[in-house]
Symmetry: C2
Subunit: 751 residues, 2 copies
């Protein structure tokens, strides 16, 4: 068990490393050469011009103005300065609500920390149970925890009352926050400009018809069943091959531009290239000629494939984006059942064009169910048994394992340095690699499950990751042992024993979690603001790969809030805060620092750096709300288990009411607010429709919607960059995944 | 443990009692005097005239035709003769589907029984484990059960395979049945004539408006938000007081008619009555004068109250029945969210007028949630702790208890007969009274929970009752002890132990359950066909109370399928069959007899006797399906527990797949079929609308819907009798709870 000195040392170390990250950030961000890394959002918005275009040669790369270095923390107040409505305008509702999660942490834990320090810390301190027990080593932190209160003491009533206060305060704040965010979402939706998804419904599982094509079938069905509201529709093509060709052609074009530029600069040498992979081997040919012919060849292939996709009825998947004359019509169609067979003509709100996950639009009902079953079983095994394959790989990667499998490497392995590396570091690295890959594995599983929008994929992955963290980080740290051993224990122990086992072990782990918060939370967040990976990648690309100006733009990876990974991690802090608020209140300040620091860092990032891939209108909030309540219930059950070992009569009946009330509160909130995140009320639709009819009576909606839901490959050549979030504010025609520039030019034709 | 001789004896006794009931039924039903009891359905339909109106005096009461007695079982083939479509026409879809539950039992268990007898019985018999264990008493039944197979025997693979067969066969049959019943329901809905509920949506939680009355507010809201579809609406009055007055006046009118008839028959004596309760005490007055004045007085009061209700805005509850111009419009409104606040303007399909539970139409959202929480907690305590108050009452009803509380009764209690009655019978009677009252308690709880239709109240009560039976009858019989002791065990034992404890005890209880099936199932069903209580009540009323012809009609209580009580009881038999099909297959024939016999009895009853209070279109089927699958999962878990004690390696992994697959199957079926029971697809609505527009272009829908959803007190005087099921077939205007005759007369004005 770590002593309080260890904790202080660790705190100092982590504070220092966090400070070092911050200083590094402050210095790096002021260099013009890094401007695109640390202000990428502004570049995307077209507001910021490169500072490198003016000034002397040196000034283009290094900032020599000393005064700017003095105020090296001034990004913090700057990050806080932008008011929320402007923030929503600037970065979208998703981002604005996301950082409110950190604010929510502060709202919950600051008052609780104050109260705990005022009440529980003195109560625990005066318990003196640890001092009276002989032969026990304990730290100051333990003296401030519930362990210090002797069995059967009346003082536990303070903890019981505190548990009630924690529950009611958390629920109160959550309720208020749910209300605020619902209001924000509704206002956001109401104030939005015209967008194609407001008029469009995604129809899946169009049944096959022997006499009609999918296109005709959809048209006839909606003409008959929504006669006054149906406007048009867009079928979905299976364009995977075409997308590959387009991608390849694009890459070749870049190379062509690169060699042409090179040739122009130095017309003496005709640039050469090799025909093999990445131009590294193969026959040496004239580069410009080679790429010109290749592009021509690809253009022909592309035209053929494009015609094939457009004309081949088999390339049309049984799904369509059906658009209506009014938002009211779309809202009706999205919320109702169309056919008496609920597995065909499935309707749902169309995700916004950028948000569509095209590959999953055509999965039949039965297959979807089988996929979900398989993924549930797979996820169960992944969560509880992931250590088994990891241990197997680790054993393979041992000295003996490698010697057996690859005798060739024996002389190499015999070297002392290699040997110690393999023995000491490799197993840890293998585990770390798995943990880094985990979110991708979970995302792949969610994709297999068949969700049709990127936002729902993110939410689904987050749910899985949250469960994984809960089992393997939280429970795994408290009850040591692999997850499948825990599972065995859970099955073999009485349900009343589990909260006891975990609850009793819980206070002892407080110091571990404090260290965890400092390493993962404090230093981790400081590292986030430095953006080390995009920073290095940008400079590498800039030096070695960037050939054209357009490439430089693409070399900047603005990144985005990775909801599926970072939200479950925040939830761990909520869980820790709720669990330890009654047991070891000394942990709360560390969590508060985490929330406050993260809030500032992420507010800065969403203002200056991140570029969201889609805008879902904070539709993740119900998940956040539910997970915090899950944490609350876990904390209540663990405290119940802990107190039941302390010989306090009646603690169990007093405590059992809390989870019941919390679950009821969850059901209540779900009924009260959740529908605002999944449905679109007719009243609001009608208001917007009426307003629009009054202001723009001559609008040609059909023309406006014509290309909104066309598969990205049919739209243009530049597929990589989704358009910036703000575009939709200015531009009613939000294009799917086309470059910002092309959408801009379009917006001029637009309204 | 009962020996096989005991079982045979019990079987013989129960068969005899069932036979006696059947003979009694055969004799009683042939007597003309009982005609109204045993053929009440036909009277209600107006097809059967009283046989007493013709023939000699004796023949009016007793059937003297000996030939009819010989064929005393001929009701059985007669009951089976009516084809299903005619049955649906005659008794409604609810009843027709209800008896299919019994048929489903046969479909599941007959093949399983054949297979079990062919495979498992020989396997068990050849086990010879019981014979080899010394000092063990066992019966022939035990020798045929799984207990006879020695530990770690390879023979258990037969049971494992059989468990898979049971699961897949049950799921297959359930899937087919769900499909059939969904089709039946859709056909039923599609073939229905015009009904008010097809056009109507129940809107609850109309928000208060300072400037408008509820009526205006509803009208404006729907005119704005469903401009093309809104037709009209009907506000709901809080007419409880008025209903009481109307009821009272009706009773007085009956008395008046009675005394008038009496006076006409015997003009010499002016009939007298007393002014007190039931005419038993108080001042003696002239009966006819008294009732005439009283009725006049009540009429005035009623008029005042009626005007008050109609004019007082406070008497209008914030709910309304909103009707639309088309089924499509109603389907849209019922399935969509109206306002961005999901707790106001709640819409749902209007129940058919007879099915409305008027008292619950105006419960605010928060109150509804609180009520549900309270009822959930109350139901939990009722299920697990009901024995505590019962034991308390039983202790009060003991000799000492009564002597202490009511010393006056001491001499009475000292009598030997009374004493032995109190000691021997009273505690059992108290428990029995509770069990008889239980369905009413559960129904009252469901009413408090705020359901708005009788059918949903029935379904909700059935869910509660099913859980109660599961805990207190099934588990309570296997693990003896009160429910709260079991609860304690469940909390204190590891989850892996529970299936073991129950699973091991399970084979030992087979004989008990066989006896239970014979007493509760065989004899109970035979008693059902005799209709002893309505029979006695009819003759008592007929002799002492019936004053008018109308009274005689009302004295007949046709009864109805009591879904909330009888469905959970059937589920117990499904559960027993599934649990014992692998463990003790000898139980299956008893269950098959139960299902076959019940099927015939209830088919006879729904044809000849019962009169359904409402028609919900088999909307209970998803519940039935879910509960059978619950039983299947329970049977799998118990078998898993049982086999895990038998030292068979790998039995647990093999068995654990079954519940996972079963739960997945449930989710699959839910997705595939459930929406047919809760939603109304737009396509079907559109088809009916189009058809109607073509056939009846001049229909005045507004006039047709005008009075459909008026509170029954505003419709007429006769409130007691809901109209018969078949009326809606002939009569598009289904009246709410008004007498059949008045609705008949209406139907002539109708179409």
């Amino acid at each position: 068990m770590a002593s309080s000195e260890d904790i202080i040392l660790s705190a100092v170390l982590n504070l220092l490393s966090a400070f070092a990250f911050l200083v590094a950030f402050a210095i790096l961000r002021l260099q013009p050469i890094n401007d695109r890394v640390y202000f990428s959002k502004w570049y995307l918005k077209g507001i910021r011009a490169s500072p490198r275009s003016s000034g002397t040669f040196v000034k283009k790369f290094v900032n020599l103005d000393c005064r700017t270095y003095i105020r090296f923390l001034n990004w913090m107040p700057a990050a806080l300065r932008m008011p929320e409505p402007e923030l929503i305008d600037h970065a979208g509702l998703d981002s604005a609500v996301y950082i409110r999660i950190y604010l929510l942490g502060l709202k919950i834990f600051v008052p609780l920390a104050l109260l705990s320090f005022a009440v529980l810390v003195p109560v625990n301190w005066s318990g003196k149970s640890l001092e009276q027990t002989e032969g026990l080593t304990f730290s100051t932190i333990d003296k401030l925890s519930i362990s210090n209160v002797p069995d059967a003491s009346k003082k536990f009533w303070a903890h019981l009352v505190m548990a009630y206060v924690v529950t009611f305060w958390t629920c109160y704040i959550l309720y208020k926050e749910y209300h605020i965010i619902t209001t924000m979402r509704l206002q956001f939706l109401a104030s939005e400009n015209r967008r194609p998804d407001q008029f469009t419904v995604l129809v899946r599982n169009v049944p096959p018809d022997p006499d009609e094509s999918v296109c005709e079938h959809v048209e006839h069905f909606f003409c008959v069943n929504h006669p006054d509201h149906y406007l048009t529709h867009q079928v979905v093509y299976n364009a995977n091959n075409l997308a590959k060709l387009v991608e390849k052609k694009k890459s070749y074009k870049n190379w062509l531009t690169y060699y042409q530029t090179k040739y122009e600069r130095n017309p003496k040498i005709k640039p050469k290239t090799k025909t093999g992979v990445w131009g590294l081997w193969g026959k040496t040919v004239d580069a410009i000629d080679y790429y010109t012919t290749e592009i021509e060849k690809l253009s022909k292939e592309e035209t053929i494939e494009r015609e094939k996709v457009m004309s081949d009825p088999k390339a049309i998947v049984p799904a369509a984006f059906v658009s209506f004359k009014s938002r009211w019509g779309a809202a009706v169609c999205a919320q109702t059942q169309q056919s008496s067979n609920p597995t065909i003509w499935l309707t749902q709100w169309a995700p916004e064009p950028r948000d569509v996950y095209w590959n999953n639009l055509s999965i039949p009902f039965v297959e979807l169910n089988v996929r979900k079953l398989l993924m549930t079983v797979a996820f169960f095994f992944l969560t509880f048994f992931f250590m088994i394959p990891i241990a197997f790989v680790q054993s393979l990667a041992s000295i003996d394992g490698i010697e057996n499998k690859l005798p060739v490497l024996r002389p190499l392995i015999q070297m002392e340095v290699v040997k110690s590396f393999i023995q000491g570091v490799l197993p840890g690295i293998i585990l770390k690699i798995f943990l880094v890959l985990l979110p991708m594995i979970l995302m792949a599983m969610s994709k297999i499950e068949g969700y049709t929008s990127l936002s729902s994929l993110d939410r689904r992955s987050a749910t899985k990751y949250h469960f994984f963290i809960l089992v393997n980080v939280f429970l795994g740290s408290i009850i040591t042992g692999a997850a499948f051993e825990q599972l065995q224990r859970f099955v073999d122990e009485p349900p009343s024993e589990i909260p006891k086992t975990v609850g009793v072990a819980m206070p002892l782990k407080a110091t571990f979690f404090i260290t965890y918060i400092m390493v993962d939370g404090w230093a981790g967040i400081a590292a986030e603001i430095l953006r080390l990976v995009p920073f290095v990648m940008f400079h590498l690309k800039n030096t070695f790969l960037v050939k054209t100006d357009q490439d430089r733009e693409q070399a900047t990876d603005p990144g985005s809030l990775n909801f599926s990974v970072s939200e479950p991690r925040i939830q761990l802090y909520f869980l820790l805060g709720l669990v330890y608020s009654v047991v070891t209140p000394i942990l709360l300040p560390f969590i508060i620092v985490f929330f406050a620091f993260s809030y500032m860092v992420f507010r800065h990032q969403i203002i200056n750096v991140y570029d969201q891939k889609y805008e879902s209108g904070a539709s993740f909030w119900p998940d956040v709300h539910r997970r915090i309540l899950t944490g609350l219930v876990i904390s209540q059950l663990l405290l119940l288990g802990l107190l039941s070992t302390k010989n306090i009569s009646k603690s169990t009946p007093v405590m059992i009411a809390l989870p019941v009330l919390t679950i009821w509160f969850h059901i209540f909130c779900k009924g009260r607010y959740e529908s605002a995140f999944v449905k679109f009320p007719l009243q609001d639709a009608m208001v917007k429709d009426t307003l629009e009819r009054a202001t723009e009576p001559t609008l040609n909606l059909k023309a406006y919607l014509k290309d909104a839901y066309v598969h990205p490959v049919f739209k243009g050549v530049e597929l990589d960059r989704p358009s910036a979030v703000d575009d939709e504010e200015n531009n009613p025609l939000v294009p799917t995944k086309r470059s910002r520039r092309s959408s801009k030019s379009h917006s001029e034709e637009g309204v």
